[in-house]
């Protein structure tokens, strides 16, 4: 027996199968009791759904609806202005993240500026004054310095090992 055709029974019920698939399904239904029963159940299900009773609605519903529509006609909602805010779920998440970043990011940037101590420019005058006070007995330039500088500048480079 060919393989079961339960996955094609719904399309078969709607007459939506191509010629080849239609032939296969009909041939299979001739010989397969299980698929044949499933098809009959699908037919019965469709008849049940089509035969469901008309739904009742409450007595005042029509008046309420009419009143809402009338109010809408008199004072139409400005859909154009609202539509900008109506975004699909994936974009809602992105929008929420962007909003959070904006809300949290701006204060964080502002705080960061205030938490790090500002760099003060080097006070050269104060440095020299301090040096003069504390190093009177050790002047900045002594006799040995020029000799050291000259000897260092003209010293031959030591060969690398």
């Amino acid at each position: 027996m060919s393989r079961h055709v339960t996955d094609r029974l719904s399309a078969y019920l709607d007459g939506a199968l191509g010629a080849s698939a239609l032939e296969q399904v009909e041939a299979h239904l001739e010989v397969c009791g299980s698929c044949s029963r499933a098809y009959q159940e699908l037919q019965a299900l469709q008849r049940m759904l089509r035969g469901l009773p008309e739904p009742p609605l409450s007595q005042g519903f029509a008046d309420r609806l009419h009143w809402r529509l009338q109010r809408e006609a008199a004072h139409p909602t400005r859909r154009g202005a609202l539509r900008w805010f109506q975004v699909r779920p994936p974009f809602r998440v992105a929008l929420a993240c962007a909003t959070m970043l904006l809300i949290l990011g701006l204060p964080a940037t502002w705080m960061a500026d205030r938490l790090v101590p500002p760099e003060t420019p080097l006070d050269t005058d104060a440095y020299i004054r301090e040096y003069l006070v504390f190093s009177l007995d050790q002047p900045l330039v002594d006799e040995a310095s020029p000799a050291f500088v000259i000897s260092d500048s003209f010293a031959p480079e030591s060969p690398r090992r």
């Binding site: 339960t6 996955d7 029974l9 719904s10 399309a11 019920l13 709607d14 939506a16 499933a38 009959q40 159940e41 699908l42 019965a44 299900l45 469709q46 008849r47 049940m48 759904l49 089509r50 035969g51 469901l52 009773p53 008309e54 739904p55 009742p56 609605l57 409450s58 519903f61 029509a62 008046d63 309420r64 609806l65 009419h66 809402r68 529509l69 009338q70 809408e72 006609a73 008199a74 139409p76 909602t77 859909r79 779920p89």
Partner: protein, 208 residues
């Protein structure tokens, strides 16, 4: 229902005398909208009820979808199917509702359903029970609706539009905004789930 949703009897004449062009235009739009609604109300009401699952939610869904449709009425193309156009708005509204509420089944397994007040577990889940007393589709309305309510919203929409309203694959695809292949696959899965859930009742009664 149809009587109460009037085409503004008397109001249009009054507004023509006392109000400006904007109000007159609103009244004319409302008259045209309600005229179309009267003609297609049965099907629209049926779809709302089967999607929502109970009268209270159906009325909320119907009202929200129809107000939404009225706001967008300028985009409706005269001469096309008004009911199909409303279904598109209604199915989108319904799926938004379900997403907002979460994907839990709207009907509890222990909640009483049907005219006899049986629980869903006893009517659907337990196939050992004798469903012989349920011999009329009206009696089965509760269990069928409960089985529909347990389907994911997209599947329920497909099966309601196809089997309750008799729309074609193309019409359903246009209403829910998805490819025809997706409609076909959703219908197959929805019907298969319903067939298994309602199996004890399918081969009995007048729909056999």
């Amino acid at each position: 229902m149809a009587d109460a949703v009037s085409v503004l009897p008397g109001l249009t004449e009054e507004t023509a005398v006392t109000s400006g062009p904007a109000e007159r235009s609103g009244a004319h739009r409302l008259a045209a909208f309600e005229g179309l609604l009267q003609r297609h109300l049965r099907g629209i009401r049926r779809v709302a009820y089967r999607l929502a699952g109970n009268v209270d939610d159906a009325e909320d869904l119907l009202q929200e979808a129809l107000v939404e449709a009225f706001r967008a009425f300028d985009r409706y193309q005269p001469g096309t199917y008004f009911d199909r156009w409303v279904y598109r708005i209604m199915t989108r509204t319904h799926i938004d509702w379900v997403r907002r509420r979460g994907r839990r089944p709207e009907t509890s397994l222990d909640a009483p359903v049907g005219p006899s007040g049986d629980t869903l577990v006893s009517l659907i889940g337990d196939t050992r029970g004798d469903p012989q007393h349920l011999t009329d589709i009206a009696d089965l309305d509760g269990p069928i609706q409960a089985a529909l309510d347990r389907l994911p919203a997209e599947f329920k929409t497909a099966v309601v539009l196809a089997d309750v309203e008799g729309l074609s694959y193309d019409e359903i695809a246009a209403a829910v905004g998805c490819p025809v292949g997706t409609v076909r696959s959703r219908l197959h899965r929805a019907r298969e789930t319903l067939r298994r859930a309602l199996q004890p009742y399918l081969m009995r009664g007048s729909w056999k």
